[in-house]
Amino acid sequence: MFRCDRLAIRRGTFQLGPLSASVEAGQVVVVIGPNASGKSTLLGMAAGVLPSSEGMVQINGQPLAKCDLASRAAMLAYLPQQPARDLELSVERLVSLGRLRLSSSPELIEEAIEEFELSEIRHRAVSTLSAGQAQRVHLARIWAQRDAESILVLDEPTAPLDPRWADRVWSLLARHAQNGGVVLVSVHDIAVAADVGDQAWLLANGSLVAAGPAGDVVQPDRLAAVFGAQFEWVVRRNGSAWLVNSGPSAEKADSVHSVDGSR
């Protein structure tokens, strides 16, 4: 189990927390909230990259801060919002860095390269790639680092990706969770958050406003209060419900079919 226990940090005038939440294995947790609500800060602290001023992160009851580097790398992999792109390192080398402190495994590195379709560009410098390609390389590095029970902490992983690759990444993350891992991921697209998340943490002004099953947290009225925008469920042609942002006022709601907040 992955647990954030009274995590808090103060940076200038911004205060995040103290907040507590936990995740069971096998779940995808989406972290949502307006700009500057503290999503990236929370993920940085959860990954042990950003030192918190109080509280701790625990994995299976063990404080993350007390784990040695190799254990940490085995238990948790982190992708920041803007990973370094101006790198002369080759794609293959960057992916292999995921195994830096872990047992060398050419098979896992090869699997990651194949999974993210990087074979043809494996010898190219990362700096020569597009933003989307570079993001796939960093995701492949995470993929090479993880094992079945790893916790993946990802800050807007699909932001630079095209729709096909975004869908592919969400499928891979869901598969990782199904195999016993944990995915903690921030996302700006509320519809995607509602679609992919098993659990959701809703942040506003550095506080955890709501945490629980995604279906309970990602509700139009709750989101309206936090984001200052209107959200409504619409029914797609295939019959599934999809959450859409209907704008700052409720007037646009006439153009969509509301299902009264239920999925």
Partner: protein
């Protein structure tokens, strides 16, 4: 880059180094007639030339290693040993010793001791001022280094105005760098030991050095311990530079250019980059010392630092113009 091509480049560097090393032993100039000769030296000259050849190779290798470690740890392609303020600190130490000796009449302790003390103080100050969350921060370290170097430079100028012209001349010739032909018995083993340990450490931890090029979050996540690795790099680079400056004075551009040349030849991975940069640095300094022997200005020899700067500067600009992408990390 194919392995065959990399091996070819490595072989070329090694051959070039052997070539300039042999030339350094063979080349000589008669101090009385000024005639240039190219022959195996007799016993009376041999140890001088061998000392200069080995010292040049070790100094070049040390500066190149320091530059490679600094460029990786500070994530800055323009980082070089001078950025830590080491050379300026050593210069201020030497100038201060000369000034104190001048006003008190106590004999100066020579160049090495005050240079090492000055360089060491500068490194410690830069590391202390460049800390953030307890570990060296690249941007803060660079800023601290620039400020310390500037302050030490101002101190040197001030002290130069307070000593007689003869002492000032001696200092200026030291400040341009010279490969010595006579050294204390322990100097070369000490420098060689530091370089060997530094190269071994850098190759052993080449993965961590590669990881330093990543953003902080990714580097921490893969277990690279960027803070501790960065601190070791800076301390090692500071020690390497301090010892070379104490032995030879500041020699410019070697630490900046060598890693870039090596990066073009063998790529950015530190497992190959470190030894390649060390070989490039050694070749550059020994080669410059050979040129220094060959060039006769009629009124004494050029300091080797002038040659490395005159050759290294335009070469670096050529690299920059030829492929800006390669003058990066």
């Amino acid at each position: 880059m194919s392995r065959l091509r990399i091996r070819g480049f490595c072989a070329a560097i090694v051959i070039a180094l052997i070539g300039v090393a042999v030339l350094r032993v063979l080349i000589g100039r008669n101090p009385l007639s000024g005639d240039l000769s190219l022959a195996w030296p007799d016993v009376s000259w041999r140890s001088f030339r061998l000392t200069a050849m080995i010292a040049g190779g070790l100094v070049g290798g040390a500066l190149a290693l320091a530059g490679t470690l600094l460029q990786a740890s500070l994530r800055n392609p323009l980082a070089s040993p001078s950025i830590l303020g080491v050379s300026s600190g050593a210069g201020l130490g030497v100038m201060l010793a000369l000034y104190v000796s001048h006003i008190t009449g106590v004999p100066s302790p020579g160049w090495m001791f005050p240079a090492v003390v000055g360089a060491g103080c500068a490194v410690v100050l830069v590391l202390l001022l460049g800390r953030r969350d307890g570990w060296p921060d690249p941007v803060s370290t660079i800023l601290a280094g620039v400020i310390i170097a500037t302050m030490c430079g101002a101190g040197m100028v001030l002290l130069q105005g307070l000593v007689p012209e003869g002492l000032r001349g001696q200092f200026l010739s030291w400040a341009l760098g010279t490969i010595p032909e006579v050294l204390p018995r322990s100097a070369l083993p000490v420098l060689g030991g530091i370089v060997a340990c530094g190269v071994a450490w850098a190759i052993w931890f080449s993965g961590r050095l590669d990881a330093l090029l990543l953003d902080h979050g990714s580097a921490v996540s893969i277990g690279a311990a960027p803070g501790a690795t960065r601190l070791i790099c800076l301390v090692l680079a500071g020690a390497l530079t301090a010892v070379t400056v104490a032995l030879c004075g500041p020699i410019g551009f070697v630490g900046l250019v060598s890693p870039h040349v090596a990066r073009r030849l063998v790529g950015p991975g530190h497992r190959l980059l470190v030894p390649a940069a060390v070989l490039c640095g050694a070749t550059l300094v020994v080669g410059a010392d050979v040129m220094r022997q060959a060039i006769d200005l009629g009124s004494g020899r050029l300091p080797v630092g002038v040659l490395t700067t005159l050759v290294g500067g335009p070469f670096f600009l050529w690299l920059l113009r030829r492929g800006g992408r390669h003058v990066s990390m």
